[in-house]
Symmetry: C2
């Protein structure tokens, strides 16, 4: 891509974020009576279910606080973030301070705190809102939640874990992956010395245990020794997760000046995207089996918005860091695919769930798992990445193989 | 359908059962080293995963014992049933006598006894095998498991239930539905007085609580008072479950001579099939939302083998009981659809999972949820139903509205 193309893309994503996507959530998602957000929204923006899912409540707080911090000090945005934070603060936690999975519209707990990602997105939310407000209370919620996540990380599901201890212990990719992003995002709150201690272990976990040297792929579940385990869970690959984590790693590589990590992320991103791409109908599969067997997930062949958007962020960042033309080509291919299939030509916001052929499987704009997060975050990240005046890697000479120094 | 057509269909399903489907499981599923069955089998019959899922182990024991009891006293069939029963007896239960969800190939427990349907299919298996062998041990396992199910039925997931008590208590359709079939199947073992006490409550639960008078549909989850609850779970309809339960109810109606129940089942079966039918591509949807909103299940639009086969059984039985031409028409439409899309033209056994358009989504013949059960049971039930010399309702004059007398 030449500079004028980069600028055009940047402007397009900026406009899509500010004139299309954010207005959708501003207009339709705020619950002005009970606080928090509606996320189950039809194509047009009508509320079809009022339950409140803590993942999505936290993510939307983070989103609006982040826009307030990084784009413009709009009071509306801060108010929307505070509306969600207030609801979460009042109703979101059980007696032990763990975050519920879901609440009724009024805030009565529905589903117990079995899902540690509720805690991850709550910590992310309150950390970002602390930056916006300076509120010590928000900082304290972010910090205590973060440390509770670290304490729970060996047994994230706690008493709700249905596997028999010892028979086939597996570790899952999602938590270390999210912690890479969360730890960097909370660096101001936790202190840079703390994150500098935690982050290298997370990176090493991903690139040593989950990364498979012989195939260049990353598995969703491995043994505690980082070995492939031939079972449904062990064979599972989630190309979207892998690519999302690769831009988290690239952000960390830039932060810690680690050229070697950039190269690993670049290689893994390209290998995994090639592996996950549907050669017949285009788009990236949701799930694949490492050995090519039938996955247990019936939704395996569907095309999900976040998978494609996270890959685009990763390709954009990778291109700016390495200049690798393959990243630019992939970015453009994914851009074409996504604007053709995920963008709704009639109403604001994007479709989330397509069938294998790229037709909408559900026309909702938000649901139990899709909220104000992946679409606007991707618009923001792509806009900022492609419009940065020079590559993020400002002085490539200073980026050395410094991973071991982390 | 005229008599010669009925006979032709009956012969076709008999042949498919005995020459195609059963040979597949006989040849590929038996684990001669560790006992039990492999169920994860590719299109050609190769084992791609060796885990043993208790639902499917129990169902296969039942299937082969049932064939031995009702079709022919083949030693191979009894041996296959005993091979699974022996494995289950040794490894299938935890210390409290509840049945695990899954085991390793060798029988080491993998997933805890959180799923009461493991117990249902184990009880069904040992009950049927008792009929084949007269073994008091098998009878005792069936009886004790059955009573443990009844004890657990208010809280079937036990400690693994993630919902917060009291906020939105829902009861689920699957257990009373399965218990209708299981109770009748265990009548010899439990004693007819016992089942005659239990069954009317099950029927009333289904046709009063889950059945919605105003729409004629059956919901998958309702409040404890049998009311619609506007939430993802409350709006869920599973047309396959409904139709499967309708033939369970028709079997009970015949057993207890209840004309009124036949009429209710007939009406519900036709209404629900009409509701579940995909007018665009044919076939019956896997899940639908009662209010037409997006379901949370991403697999909602897929066409599953058991949904279609269970509906065919129900239509065949209903036609023989009522002579309703709509049932005959639906049977023929489903027959055409199923033989065109689910039957594998090259290898034995049938495909299980099709996309909305009717193309195979997974080409497996068996997996974590598909075993030696719905295909052979449907072949058997359709064969027997359509070849019965006169309608099952042998003397319609004796079938009166005797439900209250049950």
């Amino acid at each position: 891509m030449i500079n004028s193309e980069l600028n055009q893309y940047a402007a397009l994503y900026q406009t899509e974020l500010l004139d299309n996507v954010i207005p959708f959530w501003t207009e339709y998602s705020v619950d002005k009576i009970f606080g928090g957000y509606f996320t189950c929204l039809t194509r047009e923006g009508n509320v079809f279910d009022t339950d409140k899912f803590v993942w999505l409540q936290g993510r939307q707080v983070w989103m609006f606080a982040m826009l307030y911090n990084n784009v413009e000090k709009k009071k509306t945005w801060l108010d929307i973030a505070l509306n969600g934070a207030d609801f979460l603060k009042k109703y979101g936690r059980d007696e032990e301070g763990n975050w519920y999975f879901s609440l009724t519209r009024e805030g009565i707990p529905l589903i117990q705190a079995y899902n540690i990602f509720s805690d991850c997105f709550a910590a992310m939310a309150f950390g970002e809102l602390y930056k916006a407000t300076g509120s010590e209370e928000f900082k304290q919620i972010a910090v205590s939640t973060y440390y509770q996540i670290l304490e729970r990380q060996e047994h994230p599901k706690g008493i709700y874990d249905k596997s028999v201890p010892g028979t086939r212990p597996l570790i899952n990719f999602a938590l270390p992956m999210i912690l890479c992003n969360l730890s960097l995002s909370l660096e101001d709150v936790l202190g840079s010395q703390t994150t500098a201690k935690i982050v290298p272990e997370l990176i090493s976990n991903i690139m040593t245990n989950f990364y498979q040297e012989d195939t260049g792929l990353i598995l969703e579940n491995v043994s505690r020794e980082g070995k492939f385990v031939d079972s449904f869970e062990g064979r599972l690959i989630s190309p979207g997760h892998v690519n999302e984590s690769m831009w988290f790693l690239m952000d960390l590589a830039v932060r810690y000046n680690d050229q070697s990590l950039i190269e690993q992320a670049e290689k893994t991103l390209l290998r995994n995207t090639e592996f996950g791409w549907d050669k017949k109908y285009g788009g990236i599969f949701y799930f694949l089996d490492y050995k090519g067997y039938p996955p247990q997930q019936l939704e395996w062949d569907q095309k999900l918005w976040w998978v494609h958007l996270e890959t685009m962020i990763a390709m954009a960042k990778c291109y700016k860091l390495t200049g690798n033309q393959s990243c630019s080509n992939w970015f453009e291919e994914l851009h074409q695919y996504s604007w053709k299939h995920f963008k709704d030509p009639e109403y604001n916001e994007w479709f989330g769930y397509l069938d294998r052929r790229g037709d909408p499987l559900l026309t909702l704009k938000g649901g139990k798992w899709k909220g104000s997060f992946h679409v606007p975050r991707a618009m923001y990240e792509i806009w900022k990445t492609l419009s940065s005046p020079s590559p993020l890697q400002k002085d490539s000479a200073t980026l050395s193989n410094s991973r071991n120094k982390l």
